[in-house]
Symmetry: C2
Subunit: 480 residues, 2 copies
């Protein structure tokens, strides 16, 4: 997609101004643009193709685990939103209200869905009769609207794309197992597709979803030391099923309320990819999610045989299922193209010129570590498939090392405050479990408890913030 | 997905009450349900899976023809909607208006997109600079809202799912070629995927899209003799590009307005599948779009070896890329299952019992013609793949024959009125091209000109409605 500004332009250094670096990268790589509606973004093809790859991975995993897709209405009557008390308190302040249809004023206001628990529960209540029909394992892909005051493309926008799964189960144990299964699929996707290591755990009560019994989360650490909540899975227990009077005849013949979960990830993940892997040259895309995995740039393409060979290689790679672009545009020099695709984060650049062909080789440059090596043209498809896996593994390893470097254990509140200022990252420590303690830390430092990780370490007996008896080991960080 | 009513229940005969037959079929086969918001439907998994198959076919064809997906905001400022005069007149009466975000009243009303020409053109105007960037070939998959007074699931609902392509071109010729290319892809999809024959042609000026220069359409004939507009492709010329001041530097150095197209199909197609192929037993799904292509029903499944063989067959068919369900639920008899999957329109039913296994055969029943034959278990995957193609071809042939039987040529307005009453269908005749003539026919009979077909036949020199000189041969019908 075209743009008014020159394509290759200086990107602000991330050390100088991280937010500006982020904006430069997303704008100059043509992933996204601001729209005429404040807080709403346009996702351009290069950004959208990343989302399509995320969708395709997750949709396959959802179906493998027995889920089916469906579609529920965009608009939700105010009376439905009001049914679950915590939920309406959480969402009502940030919904968009439809008040008129055509020229007529509506009898009841409708909100544009901020999430679909309420409309879906109203249907589940109509449908469910017997334990034999359970579980309900449904998901939808859609957009949602939450009226945000301060927005940033991908990270926080008034409309975003996501999937939302909504399931019902006969027993509390099954609902809990589902909640954790879906979180683990998110973690698998983050690591196997996006090369982003995640800390997984439970949210504190203060940070849980409005209406949930428990919220589980995967949290990633960005290059600036801030955390990004990247996916959540909620055990909603019977909060909504009671509020919406969803019942079924149980095995004993008695009417029972089913146990309920919901879970979602969104286009926010794209912001995570940028801020975990990107560098001062621009994007660095993990190979499995990259729209273009290999760009082929012919050198001296007017020389006989060069373009033919380039197209032959393209065909060979495509036959291996690799996403390839051959850029034979004669308006730009190879050097200009190198810069362009480096900025766009294409994992591998393959250069092929007359001398390479003579020697039966191609030069391959890796975007992730900027190394360059020659490869035999024999079995090139296999070499490149293997190299893409190597790049993925190296990116995941480096991101994990970086995160671990940025993770520190603190012994008391003073040390915590100093470290968070000097070198922000994940802070590990013990916590008393009290909401006042958590609120005080947030008010005074802007840092939140990101999660109570599944992987609990015993770091002491007292709360590292307030010295009361410790209840949980936690990760804390500033967050997006 | 479960439902309160008993699964197998009498479906109203289509000869007795066609609209009731339609409602019975969609409700009893669990494709769709009414939602708490008037005019909005819930698409249940069995209906949604059909939409996923349509999406997958079209998305592949769009990409093969150079299009890319992207995403534009759901909400459109009123001032943008107002920019193209015909467009706002056409759509303003049927849009949903957002007036409040959270508790604040908005300075400007936003409409929920009824279609996205205006918001997309506002971005194109920002992006486009030079002829070198053209064509723009973009598409989005989303839902749109049009406030309808009278609705029917799939056919006309206040929200529906669709895709909308929006392209810009350097020349009028290229825009026209794109408009026709996309219509031909829709026709290919209808015939090759849905087994529905289409008449393709141009809409009259009265029936064209609000803001278009020309609208092209594919029209199908339903079982009740009414037409269903199934996909449209618009040549928008420079109507929007001028209104939105989209310009580019042309080859001569002068500023020019690009030429513009848009095109879409929606979940309405699912209504078409039902009304073209269905019968008094329920759905009859064309194999290539059916969520389940083959249902395997084990007979006497408690007998040794039966379930093992059934699962072995399932695996063999899945390896061939066939969508298979094995129903080994012991709560229901094989006979009950036969009825259920017949109603749900599953193209092939495979029965396998102890005697079949002894003889190395399976019984296969076709849903489309209700025939039943035994097949050797050797190379079953290949036999069934071939049979699914046969079923597709037979369904397309029968639908074409039925449509042709229901198509008649009329000589004058009186004959037209009588035939349309006695045996409604496609009426072929000559038309003067005058809007008053067209309006009079619609007012007096409820019949509209569906299209001026590409395949023009010379049926006379005078308009068969009003006897003025004839300009076009047309298809007319009552329509959904």
């Amino acid at each position: 997609m075209a743009k008014k500004q020159e394509f290759v332009k200086e990107i602000t250094k991330m050390e100088d101004d991280f937010p500006q670096w982020y904006t430069d990268v997303i704008m100059k790589t043509d992933m996204v643009d601001y729209s005429p509606v404040k807080g709403f973004m346009v996702i351009k093809p290069y950004g959208y193709a990343i989302w399509e790859n995320i969708q395709s991975f997750l949709d396959r995993r959802f179906k493998e685990t027995g889920h089916q897709n469906c579609y529920f209405p965009l608009l939700i009557p105010e009376s439905l939103l009001n049914k679950e008390k915590e939920h309406v308190e959480g969402f009502a302040p940030e919904v968009a209200w439809v008040t008129h249809g055509g020229s007529e004023k509506l009898a009841e206001r409708l909100c544009v869905r901020p999430t679909s628990e309420t409309i879906i529960c109203s249907m589940y209540s109509k449908w469910l009769t017997s334990y034999r029909e359970l579980p309900y394992l449904y998901n939808q892909w859609c957009s949602v609207v939450r009226w945000e005051k301060s927005t940033r493309p991908f990270l926080r926008t008034s409309e975003f794309l996501w999937q939302e799964g909504h399931t019902l189960h006969e027993t509390a144990e099954e609902a809990q197992a589902e909640t954790l299964q879906m979180l683990s699929i998110y973690k698998e996707m983050a690591e196997d597709l996006l090369a982003i290591p995640m800390v997984d755990g439970r949210k504190s009560d203060r940070e849980r979803f409005a209406g949930a019994e428990s919220t589980y989360t995967i949290e990633a650490l960005m290059h600036d030391g801030k955390a990004l909540q990247s996916g959540t899975s909620h055990n909603l227990a019977q909060h909504f099923t009671k509020a919406f009077d969803i019942t079924f005849q149980g095995r004993s013949g008695e009417l029972e309320y089913p146990h309920h979960t919901s879970w979602g990830v969104s286009t926010r993940l794209i912001g995570g990819i940028i801020m975990v892997h990107g560098d001062n040259r621009g994007l660095v895309l993990p190979p499995r999610v990259a729209p273009i995995q290999v760009v082929i740039i012919p050198i001296a393409q007017n020389k006989e045989g060069v373009l033919d060979k380039a197209y032959e290689i393209k065909k060979e790679l495509e036959a291996k299922g690799i996403r390839v672009k051959l850029d034979d545009d004669t308006n730009y020099s190879p050097g200009w193209k190198f810069n362009q695709y480096e900025m766009k984060g294409v994992p591998l650049r393959l250069e092929i010129g007359p001398r390479d062909i003579e020697q039966n080789i191609a030069m391959i440059a890796r975007r992730d570590d900027l190394s360059k090596e020659s490869y035999s043209l024999d079995n090139l498809g296999e070499s490149i498939s293997a190299l893409l896996d190597t790049v993925h593994n190296d990116m995941l390893r480096r991101a994990t090392e970086y995160r671990d470097e940025k993770t520190f254990t603190f012994k008391d509140y003073e040390e915590f405050k100093v470290k968070m200022k000097e070198s922000p990252g994940f802070a590990k420590g013990m916590w008393c479990g009290e909401e006042e303690c958590e609120a005080k830390v947030k008010d005074e430092t802007g840092v939140t408890i990101r999660c109570i990780p599944f992987n609990q370490e015993n770091l002491g007996d007292t709360c590292h913030f307030c010295q009361k008896p410790a209840k949980h080991m936690i990760y804390a960080a500033k967050a997006y």
